[in-house]
């Protein structure tokens, strides 16, 4: 069984929901990332989403855009991100790692090369924001041949026919984007999320995670009430930014928020 499937099965058995933090690899500088990944697991994260820096992150709000710019100041590439995962895996064989980013770095590397290398370092899944299922046949064959899951997004604008196609193509979990907008936007609508989750669950048994607009313990708990996983990104990246001068402060601030979310999610 894949690490992702095992993770969700274990959570389901204990009645808990997955907490999935996102950070951008190499933000604010490369040496911060691997210790931060461990600190997040210690604070209650179940799965880690690691952002691959890209020069033109079209779906990101200003917070994650700036994180990617900080990482790119150090020329953090897909090679470097894979090395970070390899290093993380030395002491954590269990926590699933999802690479999240944009297609072009993967496209340039070649799908087969990427899938082989990602599997070798211990990546579990890939989420590429600008790669819809319609264009993904070749990539999916490469990923699935190397036992990597492809996570697709479902949005508020996705109709039922597309939800069906997306849930048939995707593996690992389905990522529901809770709002019309970019990452870090602030208008979470729980009732709207609930309605769309019903439509998704009618089509698939895959776990459903919800992201965009979750910024504190309260919003994490309310999403945990309706979804299998809570994805939190910009709220954490903002803490990285605010504490950019000290790796210890970054770990403390990020772990602090995650621990609050964990507690609130488990209490619900």
């Amino acid at each position: 069984m894949s690490r992702l499937a095992a993770c969700f099965e274990k959570l389901r058995a204990s009645g808990a929901k997955a907490l999935i933090p996102y950070v951008t690899a190499g933000d604010p500088e490369p040496s911060v990332t691997v210790p931060l990944m461990h600190a997040m697991v210690d604070a209650g994260a179940n799965i880690i989403e690691l952002g691959v820096p890209f020069s033109d992150p079209m779906a990101e709000g200003p917070v994650i855009q700036r994180a990617m710019e900080r990482a790119l100041e150090y020329d953090v590439s897909l090679d470097d991100v894979l090395e970070m995962v390899r290093s993380f895996r030395k002491t954590d064989a269990e926590t699933p790692v999802v690479l999240m980013g944009y297609l072009n770095p993967v496209e340039v590397r070649g799908y087969e090369n990427f899938a082989r290398d990602a599997q070798a370092v211990g990546v579990d899944a890939v989420l590429l924001v600008d790669m819809p299922p319609e264009e993904a046949d070749d990539l999916l064959s490469a990923l699935y041949a190397h036992e990597l899951d492809m996570i697709f997004l479902v949005a508020p604008t996705t109709d039922e026919a597309r939800i069906k196609a997306i849930t048939e193509s995707g593996r690992g979990f389905i990522y529901y984007v809770s709002l019309k907008g970019v990452t870090g936007a602030g208008h979470l609508d729980i009732d709207g999320v609930k309605q769309q989750l019903v439509k998704i669950r009618a089509q698939t048994d895959l776990p459903v995670g919800v992201g965009f607009g979750i910024k504190d313990a309260e919003s994490a708990a309310s999403i945990a009430g309706v979804a299998d996983a809570v994805v939190v990104g910009s709220a954490l990246v903002r803490r990285v930014e605010e504490n950019a001068d000290s790796a210890d402060d970054i770990n403390r601030a990020v772990a602090g928020l995650l621990a609050e979310m964990r507690t609130a999610m488990d209490a619900g």
Partner: protein, 394 residues
């Protein structure tokens, strides 16, 4: 071309975040419907004639042709359109579509400001709210166009992310669109972006080639031997080329910006010196590094200063139907001065790249051969750039 998912061979497609897939499908349906709708087409035709000033002349540049001593050069005078460039052909079309779709707000990205001005102009004409995204760097370089947009009632939003130029303005416009899709229509200014934009913008721009074709038949009684147009994103070029693509005897040349020279790496010539990749919703040739990051581009002409190119051009290159060449900043400036002094027409720096290539091509051809060059815009907007480059203070 393209296929129903917007592919030109391996290029094109729809590489966008899921939230935009629904709105793009809605746009595609509306566009396909109204392009068959006689009432819509009649309205478009009326606006193009009475508001834009079409048809634009096909002008025989007799003195310039004689001096070059080869082919007879005709200029398709898109510089004479309202707002001074070909951009308005597309903004009129998309804005009429926006109105039909019930959208009340239009957004646009702009580099030099020409597409921003053309969008702000039609927004004023149709009473639509208009927001234009423009790189902070470009805002400084193009103060006059920024003021024109503001006079026309548009809000100009400076984009401070990334390289603070056109590509970042496009990213920011996409972010606005994804946030405000219910009431907003995104008018992309070139034949790039996700399907259906490359095909839709092409279709609105082919008026250039359709007119040129019938005008040259009228004036010369035959098809031209060569077409020449500058290529940034490539909308004026595809507009001229498309109606001639089946005519194998017509040679097609797209001219990219070689900036400081292709060998320096400081240029904006993805077809001549880039590789395929995926950016801004489509697969095409890009200026990128070995890790897939988009790199900085350079051209004296802000309108060509873009790291990608329309996917149909990528396909025309690979298929061999069109040839893509590059002209550097200095050659383009020479073309600018030549046309100004010899024909009394001040061309845009973008178009000057096409003119400079024609000065190389014409002498290799015989006097009974014909070249059509797309004079895509007028050069008033560029006189500060030219003066500065030549150390002249205005």
């Amino acid at each position: 071309m393209p296929d129903e998912r917007g592919h030109f061979g391996v290029y094109g497609g729809m590489f966008v975040a899921e939230t935009l897939m629904g709105p793009l499908a809605e746009l595609r349906e509306a566009y396909e419907k109204y392009l068959q709708d006689p009432e819509f087409l009649a309205e478009l035709d009326y606006e193009l004639q009475q508001y834009v000033g079409r048809p634009s002349p096909l002008y025989f540049a007799e003195r310039w042709s004689e001096q070059l001593g080869g082919a007879r050069i005709y200029l398709k005078r898109e510089d004479l359109n309202h707002t001074g460039a070909h951009k308005v052909n597309n903004t009129v079309g998309q804005a009429l579509l926006a109105k039909r779709m019930g959208k009340t707000r239009i957004i646009a990205e702009t580099g030099a400001g020409q597409h921003g001005v053309a969008s702000a102009t039609v927004a004023a004409r149709l009473g639509l709210e208009c927001v234009v995204y423009m790189g902070a760097e470009d805002i400084q370089r193009q103060a006059m166009n920024v003021f024109r947009m503001k006079l026309l009632g548009a809000t100009v939003v400076p984009v401070e992310s990334g390289s603070r130029t056109l590509k970042d303005a496009l990213n920011e416009a996409m972010r606005d669109w994804v946030t405000n899709i219910d009431n907003t229509f995104y008018i992309i200014g070139t034949v790039a972006g996700p399907h259906p934009y490359p095909a839709m913008v092409r279709d609105f721009q082919t008026i250039i080639g359709r007119e040129a074709r019938s005008q040259i038949m009228e004036q010369e009684g035959r098809l031209p031997d060569a077409l020449v147009a500058c290529v940034g994103g490539g909308s004026n070029a595809i507009g001229l080329f498309y109606p001639f693509i089946e005519d194998q005897e017509v040679a097609i040349y797209g001219v990219e910006a070689a900036g400081d020279g292709l060998e320096t790496g400081h240029h904006a010539a993805p077809l001549c010196a880039g590789q395929p990749g995926v950016l801004h919703g489509n697969r095409t040739y890009l200026m990128e590094d070995e890790h897939g990051q988009i790199i900085h581009t350079h051209s004296i002409s802000a309108g060509l200063d873009y790291p990608g190119v329309g996917p149909e051009h990528a396909w025309l290159k690979d298929s061999g139907r069109a040839s893509y060449v590059a002209i550097d900043d200095n050659e383009a400036l020479q073309g600018f001065h030549d046309l100004t002094r010899i024909e009394g027409i001040i061309p845009a720096l973008e178009s000057s790249h096409a003119l400079a290539y024609a000065t190389k091509l014409a002498p290799t051809m015989s006097k009974d051969q014909i070249i059509i060059v797309n004079l895509s815009g007028r050069g008033d907007k560029d006189i500060h750039t030219v003066a500065e480059h030549e150390g002249i203070k205005l």
